[in-house]
Symmetry: C2
Subunit: 411 residues, 2 copies
Amino acid sequence: MEPVSAAVSAVLPAGGSGERLGGATPKQFCGLQGRPLVSYAVRAMERVSWISDIIVVVSPENIETMKSIIEKYGHKRVTVVKGGITRHRSIFNGLKVFAENQSSNRLLQKPEVVIIHDAVRPFVEEDILLKVVTAAKDHGAAGAIRPLVSTVIASGEDGCLDHSLERARYRASEMPQAFLFDIIYQAYQQCTDHDLDYGTECLHLALKYCKTNAKLVEGTADLWKVTYKRDLYAAESIIKDNLSQQICIITDLKEAVAQVGFLLHESLKSQVKVEAISISLSKNDSHLQNIFSGECYNFLCINDKEYATEEIQQLVDMLEKSNIPLLYPVVLILVHLSISENISFSIGLEELTKIKKFAREVKKKNILVYGLLIQCKDHFSLQETVNSAAALTMALIKDRNPELIGQLLVA
Amino acid sequence: MEPVSAAVSAVLPAGGSGERLGGATPKQFCGLQGRPLVSYAVRAMERVSWISDIIVVVSPENIETMKSIIEKYGHKRVTVVKGGITRHRSIFNGLKVFAENQSSNRLLQKPEVVIIHDAVRPFVEEDILLKVVTAAKDHGAAGAIRPLVSTVIASGEDGCLDHSLERARYRASEMPQAFLFDIIYQAYQQCTDHDLDYGTECLHLALKYCKTNAKLVEGTADLWKVTYKRDLYAAESIIKDNLSQQICIITDLKEAVAQVGFLLHESLKSQVKVEAISISLSKNDSHLQNIFSGECYNFLCINDKEYATEEIQQLVDMLEKSNIPLLYPVVLILVHLSISENISFSIGLEELTKIKKFAREVKKKNILVYGLLIQCKDHFSLQETVNSAAALTMALIKDRNPELIGQLLVA
């Protein structure tokens, strides 16, 4: 597909009240892995280099909340705009920023194409954005669609079935959508109050007021709108799944440590992408920083020192110094390799208390620390122990359970 | 609402291939907490006393799988029927069992009202079943509906928007549905091959062939159909949520143990329903059995013996002897109360290995054992330790992580 040749910006309506969710917090502000849903949608736009400005429209009482989210997660190119009392009025307010150039923050250039996307659809990829933008350039309007999951029926006034629609002939209209700016803006300007107050579908406005038949683009299943509590559960699981695709194993140069690092690498690589680096953490290693910028959120530090919180503290400092906002909790597994052949090896409770205290401190920085003990009694049992350590590692990075921080698991 | 005065049976079509899920296993056979989705739908019907027979229609290659599921989970009143190549043909096969009385297994009485429900909608409650059955008795047909989440649009032949439907005027047709048996059976008998092969909506057949306008009944959000992978994630989370609503604390009569049991009870009761029982496990306690039959799947056994696997073995034996099929994994947390004031208290690795081995054995019986150490150094710190133990307990029962079995957590 050709690169985008138009100036493109995006409007994200985020003013909904989330009634269907059944909670006090509007769904766009519900936390997934601690971060509000709206931040995921913003991030999805932000990482697309050819989207110039991102307008987030929120209800007046949430403007400060939204600004603090942008600050906390370091979002760029975002302007917060006050919403109206309905979805269409909010989107219209978002579009006005370009048309009237009234933003006090900075000069926003009117885009040729504007993307409209929901704040509660966190998993939108560049590919579908490119498709709707390209189609909008050609057709004036475009939107993502999905097959219907349920049959759609019309109810009579008596609450009985009037007729059902043939499922194959209809589609669900999803987001993202894209429009030539002049078309959608003109549609909103001509729009009746009834449409502004009771309508929800932008494609309908483009058709009704500008005679523009939007191009329909088949989207992927993960474009769905987070609507109910179960959708938050699903989104959280998808995020955890995505976060547990990659792990970085850090070892020092000692032979036993490097060997266990190698065995763990072998055992893990069928399940996740593994980056292995051998460093002394005291050096400020740029390779490690690169891995971190590459959105790896899982680290396994193998050490033969007992409860090497000093070593891991250096890693924590390095993450902090990198100045990259932590979009997700980082999992740091502190692997203690015990080479003692003593079968009556034991773990002191005082030491355990020390790890727990350290973990509680570091959690404030959104870093989850767990301990993992590998006892290397003999070569015969080592492979089995390493496999068990790999299984525990996968369980820890998949669950990212904040309650279990500071615990010492035994492989 | 009046009790049901009609003979009612149910047909569950479970013959789908689950293409939209993207996995090799059809979704109705995907495991949630280890148990196939279809078993949840069967269980939902089975626990409603006024449903006589439950017909599960599966494709020929899955008949044995389905029979073994019924055997394993002790489902009652279920007949497995061979499906057709489409959804409608499968449902028709299910209905024929009553009409032709051809089942070789036993005599199935033709019901006055038949419920049709999807195998992939696990969370159907008695309340909505009663509503659709009652409405079907009055109207001949009835079905659950939900508001539309997305706008429905019609596409033209050029792949562009033709028109969009006014969302408020339409509904999504969901399950369960119910019919006077004679109406839906007559509809299927008169049905064209085209309808049998390309249709999906039973309400449509009742309308088209029997002029019966089904009564539409507003259902709850959890009636949704498990369709995509994200729906499996959501269903799994809902099940885990439901399973972590209740916990049973078991203590013996020793004062220190009973006191910690009391403090844990106090700390947990704001989050879950807590049953506390004080027993010597050597007695076969019927109270405990009652709690278990009441579908409590979480137990906390507090003990001052070190790694009292013998004590917990008795509980395991009792669960086994009760002969109740385990529909979900049971979580057993073995709390070791250490009253030692010795700050240099330590945990022997040999002991840890013993718990892990025990946990691996018991896991084969679908019981997940975790260790939890509470050190009772002084009264000042005890409350804090108990709160930490309560938080760890909640984390363990909410996650039900099979990889972490046999680990000893420290409160």
